[in-house]
């Protein structure tokens, strides 16, 4: 049944075409078309999954490009990694589209939104199925295009348009790196398909740079350290967009790319280590910023960046199956988080968490879903997040990178802290401004429920309870026999302690003292500690060791992040604009100038010559005569 795999991206693409051409007329039913298309592709994915279990593999389709001697046969790749990713993308995609019926119901360009959503589904599925770099790059940019279109969907808002452009250009910078990596690979191996990657041998320096360049593409797309500035701004788009694109699928494409080329990375250790360290830096930085941020969607955005950092760490330390497992679980509970945030924003119409509070008892379903998802992401045992994070932590420990292990633990702690900070500030406590939350309509509630079920049980396949069937399904190189031995209780213990510690701190800070209502968290943050300090002498050491440096660190980081990197980006933009203005000036003055100057010179010269023509015949005769004399003189002198 694998033979129909190439149909998967075609159905959403058809839906896109229909919606674009006849969007206006369809109005409400456009949602049905796009959801139907994604459901059909989900069905085909399940069939291909079934086919894969029976052992069918990837296959070639047709010649696409010919380079005189090297014909690039385009094909479809069907292997455990792609199928799981297909499953994740298809299910989350369909659920979010159902959700966005409710969310986008009052939007004038309803059909245009679903058109872009199905285009995104098509390119994302296409990206996963591509079996060579060129088609992957094509869908890669297609996905970038859709994120641009959807971020700046409400393009009346100037900030949305700017954010969209920023996203496209920053990812485009990463893509330029990817393109160069593809050139380097093609130049040395004359073969662009992924299957050829494992056969690469010889001159390691060249292939390490190729791997790093490809990772550069991943950095751009998955918003890792240097190129992560666009993701928080991408929250300008509608929340289902953030949920689907900027939480579950597209940002994971970077991790998928690194996983897909893992053969290349694995044989060149320096590239892998670099991946790990970049992941670590991103994780720590993003998590610390999240603790301070006051916009619910930006907190989730930073948390996505830090979780992606975690996945990169997993890949970096060689935990191929661990990071893919975390990728899958993260996709589910992060999408759930965003959708809950969406329904909260939909009902209270604000994103500032300081204005929220005490929403739980009015929005029961969203509340519980939000709590489940937070438990999952913080790594509390029964939930999926715990198992996948635990896998990564074991991999880190096994690979022997103490520094990274500490960073990962701190990240997990911070994750737990800011997630529950959100819960306590948003759901519980007293409402801080006059808002009248109401439960979201059914179309938004049902996807929440389904996703929370996933969030709870998605962890099991990878856990020892079902003897790591996930790891056996997706593995790299030799099957991980070591895994089946007793699970590493030490690591499990640490992650549980860390999770509860985070929750405790959040609880201590936000639930116990009731007066922290009006002022914003940041400036009161320090004031709060004096208050807490008086009550818990025990906390003094703890606060000194951890909270204040962390607050300062996060303030420094967010400051750094805003001024330096954003500043650099804007500075380069204005420098480029200045450069181009200078060039335009040069162009019009120097190059054009010389041409006009020559014309003026000729005009001036002829002006002078004109005076010779006095109009008197005699003066002409005279000049002629002088010429005669001159010749005679020359003749005589010349002898």
């Amino acid at each position: 049944m694998v033979k129909f795999a190439h149909l998967i991206p075609i159905f959403p693409f058809l839906a896109f075409a229909i919606l674009i051409l006849f969007g206006r007329k369809l109005k409400r039913s456009s949602a049905i078309i796009s959801i139907a298309a994604s459901l059909i592709s989900l069905l085909i994915v399940i069939l291909t999954f079934h086919g894969l279990l029976k052992g069918q593999g990837s296959y070639k389709l047709f010649d696409w490009l010919v380079f005189n001697g090297i014909t690039l046969r385009v094909g479809v790749i069907v292997d455990p990694l792609t199928c799981t990713m297909l499953l994740v993308v298809a299910t989350i995609g369909s659920l979010i589209q159902v959700y966005s019926i409710g969310y986008m119901s009052d939007d004038p360009r309803f059909s245009r939104f679903f058109a872009y959503m199905s285009l995104f589904m098509a390119s994302m599925l296409g990206l996963l199925l591509a079996d060579n770099f060129v088609t992957l790059y094509m869908f890669w940019e297609g996905v970038g295009l859709c994120s641009y279109l959807l971020i700046s969907f409400w393009f009346e808002k100037a900030s949305a348009a700017k954010a969209g452009m920023k996203a496209f250009i920053t990812t485009r910078i990463g893509d330029a790196g990817l393109l160069l990596g593809i050139f380097l690979l093609f130049f040395s191996t004359h073969d662009l398909s992924f299957s050829g990657l494992s056969a690469i041998t010889g001159h390691p320096a060249l292939y390490t740079t190729a791997a790093l360049l490809i990772f550069c593409g991943a950095i751009g797309k998955s918003a890792q350290f240097p190129l992560h500035v666009w993701l928080p701004d991408a929250m300008e788009g509608p929340t289902p967009v953030s949920a689907l694109i900027h939480a579950a699928t597209m940002v994971a494409a970077g991790v998928y790319l690194v996983a897909r080329c893992f053969a290349l990375f694995f044989t060149h250790q320096p590239a892998l280590v670099c991946v790990a360290y970049i992941g670590a830096i991103t994780a720590i930085m993003a998590a610390s910023i999240a603790t301070v941020n006051n916009d619910i969607k930006r907190v989730l955005a930073y948390s996505t960046i830090s979780q992606l950092g975690l996945m990169m760490i997993g890949l970096g330390v060689g935990g191929y199956s661990a990071s893919t497992f975390h990728l899958v679980t993260h996709a589910f509970f992060k999408a759930l988080l965003f959708l809950c945030a969406g329904s909260i924003i939909h009902s209270v119409h604000t994103q500032e968490i300081n204005k929220m509070g005490g929403i739980f008892h009015k929005m029961k379903i969203t509340g519980t879903a939000f709590i489940i998802a937070s438990l999952a992401i913080s790594g509390v045992p029964p939930f999926s997040g715990f198992w996948s994070k635990d896998e990564i932590m074991t991999e880190i420990l096994r690979s022997g990178h103490p520094m990274i292990f500490i960073a990962a633990t701190i990240t997990n702690l911070l994750t737990a802290f800011y997630m529950f900070r959100l819960i306590f500030l948003v759901l519980f406590g007293k409402p801080r401004s006059e808002l009248h939350p109401h439960e979201s309509p059914k179309t938004m509630a049902i996807p929440l429920i389904i996703l929370s079920i996933f969030a709870i049980f998605m962890g099991l396949p990878g856990s020892p309870l079902m003897n790591n069937v996930f790891q056996r399904f997706i593995y790299f190189g030799a099957e991980h026999t070591a895994l089946s031995s007793n699970p590493d209780h030490f690591v499990m213990g640490i992650s549980v302690i860390v999770a509860f510690l985070g929750i405790g701190i959040a609880y201590a800070l936000y639930m116990l003292n009731k007066e922290i209502l009006s002022k914003s968290i940041r400036n009161r943050f320090t004031g709060l500690y004096d208050l807490v300090y008086n009550k818990y002498y025990v906390d003094e050491l703890y606060e000194f060791l951890f909270i204040r440096p962390c607050a300062r660190l996060s303030k420094a980081f967010s400051g750094f992040d805003l001024k330096v990197i954003d500043g650099a980006v804007n500075a380069s933009a204005s420098m480029v604009v200045f450069l181009s203005k200078a060039k335009a000036w040069i162009d019009s003055n120097i190059v054009d100038g010389t041409v006009n100057m020559i014309a003026r010179a000729v005009g001036m010269l002829s002006g002078e010559l004109r005076k010779m023509q006095t109009g008197y015949i005699q003066s002409y005769l005279l000049t002629a005569f002088m010429g005669l004399i001159l010749i005679l003189l020359l003749k005589i002198i010349g002898g």
Partner: protein, 492 residues
């Protein structure tokens, strides 16, 4: 060939122009009908040409040879091979679409359409002519009508632009004439025929070849606009009426590139090898310089003009690679750029007809008022910034890929150009379509049927080549590999 298809293609527009001369000036519709019929005839014939063209053989096909000026051994020799068949189709298609597009011309239609058809004959002749004298004659024929078309129906500074265009190109073609004569006298049986010269061209000493190459280079470089000679392009574009700037950008720029493919590279092999580094550097400058200056422009049409300079930089880059991929990329880039820029200029024309201004900052939020126009503009803008899945990406990708092994650093810098291109196109899109609606244009009407008719065929071609590039590549692969073998370049 029993039926002289090439002569018919070349001289169909000319026949139309003769007919127009006889029609009275008053009934403008008859003139328009004749013009459209003439260009349509040329288009159908060129489609027939594409169908009957067997793309496996690199040799010249549909050859037609007749004695023309026996005394100097100049023959009336037409032919089409992999290199020129695509460009012939491009010319006929754009002439047909621009002819429909030029129904907006209000004054002196009779002269307009007469000159227009003369222009398209000149262009077709240049791509099919295989005899130097014939090639040069058609090359000059193109100049005169273009000068008048810009000079009479142009914008404010039309005279300045027309004169500048005319003198720039004429100066270039004078050097080209020197080159042609040099070739004529150095070839043993004193021939003008390009095919013979390709065989005997290699025999010349390197220094002679270099001189002739430079002479030809000056002629073609002005047309391609390579960096120092490009200042005529923005003025000519800004002042030319829309359908004319479509032809100007769509076809005239390709004549320069075609010249390199047909004359400079095959005949003067050693000189070509000698000059690949300057070619690559100039190509790179073109890309980066064009992109940067385009970003600074506030006039929509000037921006698109500079973007043409930047895209033609890829053609130069592809030529410098001396590899089959690079050549294929360069040739396909010429075809794709022709289609995409033609579309862009039509869109500029649509906006100009409604708003009578081309200042980008004056627009804003048109996405709401003109949804179909917004869709079209975004597709063409994305195609020209090289979004994969549309035709712009394929040719740029192949040019860069072809040049990578020989000039690593230059390719890297040129691929940075991709980012700047993305930058200024999106910045343009943002200024026109996105952001708050500028109330000045609240009553603006969306794109109408006729304008849409000119854009749909271009859109279809852009998407087809983007998704399945082999459809366009298969025509030129045989001819390009023959050229590369001939040049002794790297085959991959």
């Amino acid at each position: 060939m029993s039926f002289p298809i090439l002569t018919c293609i070349v001289f169909a527009p000319l026949a139309g122009s003769m007919l127009i001369l006889f029609t009275p000036k008053k009934n403008v519709n008859l003139i328009k009908v004749i013009a459209t019929l003439a260009t349509a005839a040329a288009l159908c014939l060129s489609v027939l040409l594409l169908i009957k063209f067997n793309y496996s053989s690199p040799a010249m096909q549909f050859e037609e040879k007749a004695a023309w000026i026996p005394s100097i051994n100049a023959w009336y020799h037409l032919g089409a091979d992999g290199i020129s068949v695509g460009l012939i189709f491009l010319t006929t298609l754009l002439s047909f679409l621009a002819c429909i597009g030029s129904s907006g011309i209000k004054i002196r239609q009779k002269e307009y359409f007469f000159l227009y058809l003369l222009l398209s004959t000149g262009m077709l002749g240049t791509f099919t002519g295989l005899d130097m004298v014939l090639f040069y004659m058609f090359w000059e024929i193109v100049l005169v009508p273009m000068y008048f078309l810009i000079g009479i129906w142009g914008g404010q500074r039309k005279e300045y632009a027309a004169i500048k265009f005319f003198i720039y190109t004429l100066a270039g073609s004078v050097f080209m004439l020197l080159g042609i004569l040099a070739l004529y006298f150095t070839s043993t049986p004193h021939t003008f025929d390009i095919l013979e010269l390709t065989k005997t061209g290699g025999a010349l000493t390197l220094s002679v070849q270099i001189l002739i190459f430079i002479a030809f280079y000056l002629g073609f470089a002005v047309k391609v606009p390579v960096f120092p000679f490009h200042t005529w392009l923005p003025d000519a574009h800004v002042e030319a009426p829309t359908p004319i700037s479509v032809l100007l950008a769509g076809v005239l720029l390709k004549m320069g590139g075609y010249g390199f493919f047909r004359i400079s590279f095959p005949i003067l092999k050693d000189a070509a090898h000698y000059f690949i580094l300057p070619f690559a550097i100039l190509g790179m400058i073109n890309i980066i310089y064009g992109a940067l200056v385009a970003m600074a422009q506030t006039d929509f049409k000037k921006m698109v003009a500079y973007s043409s300079v930047s895209h033609m930089g890829f053609v130069m880059l592809g030529l410098a690679s001396m590899t089959a991929t690079g050549f294929n990329g360069a040739l396909l880039e010429m075809f794709n750029h022709g289609i995409i820029t033609a579309g862009m200029f039509f869109l500029v024309g649509v906006l100009y007809d409604r708003a009578h201004t081309r200042e980008l900052d004056k627009f804003g939020g048109l996405g709401v008022k003109m949804p179909v126009y917004a869709g079209m503009l975004s597709v063409f803008a994305l195609a020209s910034l090289g979004l994969p899945g549309l035709s712009g990406f394929i040719s740029e990708f192949m040019s860069l890929l072809g040049t990578y092994p020989t000039f690593k650093l230059i390719t890297i810098i040129s691929s940075l150009g991709l980012i700047i291109t993305a930058g200024y196109f999106l910045y343009m899109l943002q200024r026109i379509l996105l952001g708050p609606v500028n109330e000045k244009w609240s009553a603006i009407s969306d794109i109408n049927k006729r304008e849409l008719l000119t854009l749909i065929p271009l859109l279809i071609i852009v998407v087809i080549i983007g998704i399945y590039p082999l459809s366009a590549l298969k025509y030129q692969i045989a001819a390009i590999s023959a050229l590369v073998q001939n040049l002794g370049g790297i085959a991959f």
